[in-house]
């Protein structure tokens, strides 16, 4: 089946699921607007499904998707968000910057390069610290250090 027809089906299923949850809204008047939107979404999804079933569009050739790189970044960001509140904004930002440039950059470890990454990450974190803590004096997630 055409990819966009599948997208239509997924959206339709999502609309049906959301419609089923409307029963949990205690006040009927509060459900009027969301119900109207969900019904419209359902109709649009069905139309999308039918459109691409009847008139399938030719798809241009795409280069292979870099799953490892994008998936790797996703994992690093999730870990960063998980530890951000415990380590604090600045320390976690330093480690995150280091992780993205080193792991995702697939660079070889040698003393000169390692010093470069460390200095780069430290400069970046230092700029953040001066900007947010010293100049703007705003609150950031607190943790082990600041």
């Amino acid at each position: 089946m055409n990819r966009d027809a599948v997208v239509g089906l997924v959206c339709l299923a999502g609309s049906v699921l959301l419609y089923a949850t409307l029963g949990h809204i205690e006040e009927a008047r509060a459900a009027v607007f969301p119900r109207t939107i969900i019904v419209i979404m359902g109709v649009l999804s069905a139309l999308l499904f039918l459109q691409h079933l009847i008139f399938p569009k030719p798809r241009p050739q795409q280069p292979p998707f870099p799953w490892l790189r994008v998936g790797g970044l996703f994992v690093i960001i999730v870990v960063y968000l998980l530890v951000c509140e415990d380590l604090g904004f600045y320390l976690s930002a330093f480690l995150f910057f280091l992780a993205v440039t080193y792991i995702m950059g697939r660079r070889r470890l040698n003393p000169k390069q390692a010093a470069k990454w460390l200095v780069g990450s430290a400069v970046f974190t230092g700029i953040l610290y001066v900007l947010f803590k010293v100049i703007l004096e705003v609150q950031t997630p607190r943790g082990l250090l600041v």
Partner: protein, 508 residues
């Protein structure tokens, strides 16, 4: 006009000028960086404006908006990648000029033309916005409800390749806007997780929808080769290029007028303005074959058009809450979080903030040109910022920006979840702009829908209240026209693609 002149000096205070200059330089830099869109740049900066007074905050956003559009031409010219969609037409002749060894000249053309177009658009905006805002006084709940839907239909139709996907995105945005406690009735809706109790605020949504997909996209293209040209700075060509540029009256006029007209049309944006202006200048040219091979008129037309669009794109935004471009939609979020609601009130109760903002946009055009010209000699170094470092920096700024709204990590979780969902959505053809507009306009649509329903129930009935009256009918007709036009465009594109496929099959 008198009010504009009265409040103009407010934009010249030292702090406002400093913010304007920093915003312009930052905007040029962000615009020139491939992979960072103006919309994302403005979205990332919205949280920084919390700590400023409203006028200064809006000056920052306006300066970044103006200069990112022009800055996007740098990467279009030097590496054949438009810094923003608005610069697509620029690369058609800008990059060939760079290949011919005229990169610096092309950049000068770009900033001078942007200034001319930008100032033209601002003049139109200054004259037309206040009287149009007065018309909004006639609008009651039913008209405001339809206006909110109109905003979504135009954005839905023009920013995605598929009108159905655009509308679905807009509806999804409306649905996201109702998450949390109903403001009128106090009932919880769609609060499946604790993090959703407070609903989805505008800033986390803006940052998530625009910044997170961009971060993943940067990772996709991180190791790709770019079509870079060698850049040799030349001395003493500025004033010669300036004079040459101003002599290209036809290209400048067509670009400025087309950009202004397209800017006023909600949802169209700089991309459409640049391409139409380029096409028109080519059609009126005595030598149309020279376009695409490094004709400066192509750069002049495209750049004057995409910056002429900036001011007029704010006319429907400041009068009716209907943004003229995706970046203007983010600016709408910036206005709302400072308690400024579009309409006549903006020009009466908040006249000082509004006119100072408008005055700063005029100054931003001038600053963009001055700093753009200064940066031109060194712009090739901007291209060297590695994608990985940029992706890491944007992610950290997105986390800070989201957290700073309410000092809540829940918002960060919502931001990242929405962003990841949007990235997946982009992969199957959905666009962020209608979703954002749905979230921003959702509360306006629902409030006015419920208010209108209350009035209608005690008066003439729901159908008569919402579907009669000349203003209602005009706005409904505009909604239908925008959807109809989008369907027509899609059908034409489908037929064209099919014909091309058939021709390809026949030739092979």
């Amino acid at each position: 006009m008198l009010e504009f002149l009265q409040y103009f000096p407010n934009a010249l205070t030292p702090i406002n000028l400093l913010v304007l200059v920093l915003g312009t330089i930052g905007g040029l830099f962000l615009g020139a960086t491939p992979g960072l869109s103006p919309t994302m740049a403005v979205a990332l900066l919205v949280p920084f404006t919390f700590h400023m007074d409203p006028a200064t905050g809006l000056i920052l956003l306006g300066a970044v908006y103006t200069s990112t559009v022009a800055g996007g031409a740098i990467s279009a010219i030097l590496i054949n990648i438009p810094g923003a969609p608005a610069n697509i037409a620029t690369l058609l002749d800008g990059h060939p000029m760079a290949k011919l060894g005229q990169a610096q000249k092309a950049l000068y053309f770009c900033f001078i033309s942007s200034l001319v177009g930008g100032l033209f658009g601002m003049v139109i905006m200054i004259f037309f916005t206040p009287p149009l805002a007065e018309i909004a006084l006639e609008f009651g709940p039913s008209e405001m409800f339809w206006v909110a839907l109109f905003g979504i239909t135009v954005m839905a139709g023009l920013t995605s390749g598929s009108v159905l996907k655009g509308l679905l995105g807009g509806m999804f945005g409306l649905l996201v806007s109702v998450i949390g406690y109903s403001p009128m009735l106090g009932t919880p809706r769609f609060v499946f997780l604790d993090v959703l109790t407070g609903g989805v605020s505008i800033v986390p949504a803006l940052i998530g929808l625009f910044a997170v997909p961009q971060v993943f996209s940067l990772m996709e293209t991180a190791f790709q080769q770019r079509d870079e040209v060698s850049f040799q700075p030349q001395k003493g060509i500025l004033w010669r290029t300036f004079a040459e540029n101003l002599k290209k009256v036809k290209a400048l006029s067509i670009g400025s007028v087309v950009g202004t007209i397209i800017g006023v049309i909600p949802g169209a944006g700089g991309q459409v303005a640049g391409l139409i202006a380029y096409d028109q200048v080519r059609k009126f040219s005595k030598n149309p074959r020279s376009f695409g091979t490094g004709n400066p008129e192509g750069v002049v037309a495209a750049e004057s058009a995409n910056n002429a669009m900036v001011g007029p794109s704010l006319i429907p935004l400041l009068t009716l809450s209907v943004p003229g471009s995706p970046t203007a939609a983010v600016l709408l979020g910036g206005l709302l979080i400072h308690g400024l609601f579009p309409g006549p009130d903006l020009f009466r109760s908040h006249a000082e903030v509004t006119y100072t903002f408008i005055a700063s946009l005029v100054l931003a055009q001038i600053a963009m040109c001055i700093f753009g010209l200064l940066m031109s000699r060194y712009s090739h170094t901007v291209m060297k910022v590695p994608d990985l470092e940029m992706a890491a920096a944007v992610t950290v700024l997105a986390v800070y920006g989201t957290f700073s709204v309410q000092n809540s990590f829940d918002d960060v979780v919502v931001m990242f979840s929405l962003g990841t969902l949007m990235y997946l959505g982009r992969k199957v053809g959905f666009s962020a702009a209608p979703v954002v507009l749905g979230i921003i306009l959702g509360s306006i649509a629902e409030d006015n829908f419920l208010k209108g329903k209350l009035i209608a129930d005690t008066d003439v009935g729901v159908f008569k209240y919402f579907f009669t009256g000349h203003l209602n009918l005009i706005i409904i007709a505009l909604c239908a026209a925008s959807v109809g036009y989008s369907i027509y465009s899609e059908v034409r594109q489908y037929q064209k693609a099919k014909a091309q496929a058939r021709a390809k099959e026949a030739s092979s």
